[in-house]
Symmetry: C2
Subunit: 338 residues, 2 copies
């Protein structure tokens, strides 16, 4: 194992002081002759010197690392987000430390502490559902406030005091309702996510608003309050299909897959017997036997916007800290006109 080449080695080789070399390498070319500059660069190349990130971090107190916390890795919405973020941040010279909380508050805490210890320069957080429950909310807020690291919330937010990037869930919910109503549906069941997540709250809000505008009733038992996974979709469908509904709005695609699974089991055909809308537009939604009509989240834009916001926070430049992106209704063939 060959020894690491340090700046001193370069210094000795050239008979120049480390300071000078450091200046050139970091582009702080106050007043160094081109000739010397070239000599340094050549020598660096020759010796294959590159600065030690650790030592750099200690000296500058910056790690060029961003902590990224997501609740669920089986949900492709988050994995695609992780990918885009990693790509984008790397173009800024930052790397990402990834942690997965499995929607447990305990892990949020554990990993945020880990990020603090690692002295990451910024945090991008999609907090666990548990941390956002009413009884834990105060503690979560306290935790975030005590952070001396810039952070932004992703996908789910607490309140306007924290920087946030996500989609306009209210309008999205509204648009789904509008589409279903246009197709003649009046008895629509809903499968929500956890109702302490802003995404669920707002999707439902927009949905209800549109129904109200059309004087359509939404009985409380048409709403199944569930979690954001496949099993919840299955169970929700089971309940809803006891009522005489003609359509289901699942608050994410995983749930919609669960609905499909239950319908299949019961010999209920989609869209002939039941219309279905999802949310997210995961990869699989386009290849299922019943191609799913769903709301597409602009994952790449979310990633781009959140990375740019992060850079703004880190570099202390002004700009908006609350971004809600538009979604797009992708119409496939899981909805029938009635």
């Amino acid at each position: 194992m060959r020894k690491k080449v340090t700046i001193k080695d370069v210094s000795k080789e050239l008979g120049l002081s480390p300071t000078t070399i450091s200046l050139v390498l970091n582009g702080k070319d106050c007043s160094i002759p081109e000739a010397t500059k070239k000599r340094i660069l050549d020598c660096v190349e020759k010796l294959n010197y590159y600065p030690d990130t650790i030592a750099q971090s200690l000296a500058t107190q910056k790690t060029k690392t961003i902590g990224l916390l997501i609740p669920d890795i089986t949900n492709n919405f988050f994995t695609e987000y992780v990918h885009s973020v990693q790509l984008k941040l790397s173009s800024y010279g930052y790397d990402v430390l990834l942690c997965i909380s499995e929607d447990k508050m305990e892990d949020d805490l554990k990993y945020i502490n880990l990020f603090k210890n690692r002295r990451v320069d910024g945090l991008m957080l999609a907090m666990s559902a548990e941390s956002l429950q009413p009884e834990n909310l105060e503690n979560t807020k306290k935790l975030l406030n005590s952070l001396d690291i810039p952070y932004i919330m992703i996908d789910r937010y607490i309140d306007s005091s924290s920087p946030y990037v996500g989609v306009d869930n209210e309008t999205s919910g509204f648009n789904v309702a509008k589409h279903l109503i246009n197709k003649g549906h009046k008895k629509i069941g809903v499968i929500t996510g956890p109702m302490y997540l802003s995404s669920s709250i707002n999707r439902l809000k927009g949905f209800k608003k549109c129904l109200k505008e059309h004087n359509i009733d939404l009985p409380e038992d048409y709403i199944q309050y569930m979690k954001y996974d496949m099993k919840s979709g299955y169970l929700g469908a089971k309940e809803l299909l006891k009522k005489d509904i003609t359509a289901i709005f699942a608050f994410n695609d995983l749930q919609a897959y669960g609905v499909i699974s239950y319908a299949k089991e019961q010999g209920i055909k989609i869209p002939e017997d039941l219309s279905l809308v999802g949310f997210d537009d995961l990869l699989y939604s386009s290849i299922l036997d019943t191609k799913l009509t769903t709301v597409k989240q602009p994952i790449e834009s979310i990633a781009t916007e959140s990375c740019e916001m992060m850079m703004r926070l880190i570099n202390d430049v002004d700009g908006t800290t609350m971004i809600r992106l538009k979604t797009e209704l992708i119409i496939r063939n899981s909805i029938k006109e009635v």
Copy 2:
């Protein structure tokens, strides 16, 4: 932003030397009175002191970080692996730096260099298909050999000179063939992955071996050499269904989904008109309309074994460096008896 508490602060507060405190904190309790120990621990608690990871790293030359490189984040095989690894490593006190190569050799190179710069303590690599192509293999080997960091290959290997964890693909391929043959199939089409990936090579090898043992022919045009994604499955099915085959063995589940998609489009029923086997047992395979018979990779075991091997390499303890785990054939209903 309050100042970080350093060991000196603790030292001053107590009137003890930093050395003593450091000793206690790192459990090197050679001979320190319980009383002093407690005083120190209490004070550390009170001041909320925790050591600076960066400074620690610089001093010890260890970062307690593992670089994890995967080719594709939309493939749930890898995401589930990432999750398990992160969990397992964190129990050893290690964190993971994640990079995704999108199967590009250029990115393998870029990220491995990044890992080197970051001075990670170890590398876990699922190299890109491109890096493993014959024409690039020499360069890839050279790159790996020049690494002065312990590394292991995941899922796909080069040769026995590199530590490796994966599954026994040959036996797996053999077992799929056996199952299909038992069900009466004789005309079986195959959709492979890139044939410079060990996984593909060995799956095909085992598959052919079993066919040969049963004196069953495998015409060259029953084999579609493709990539490990959904589109390849679609295209492969399109070709294969021009022949009079009764079954298809797709080398991963994503491809199988592609086959399903094409079959659906053509009104070909699975398993009535066509039998299908996949590989991986992704989450979705159990909920598709046609529940997929597939080979389950023990992802958690792969993660566990690879993390343990990593720890062995890092701590220089002996042990096997080549692990091939057993797979399990999950029989659902995508195969018909003929």
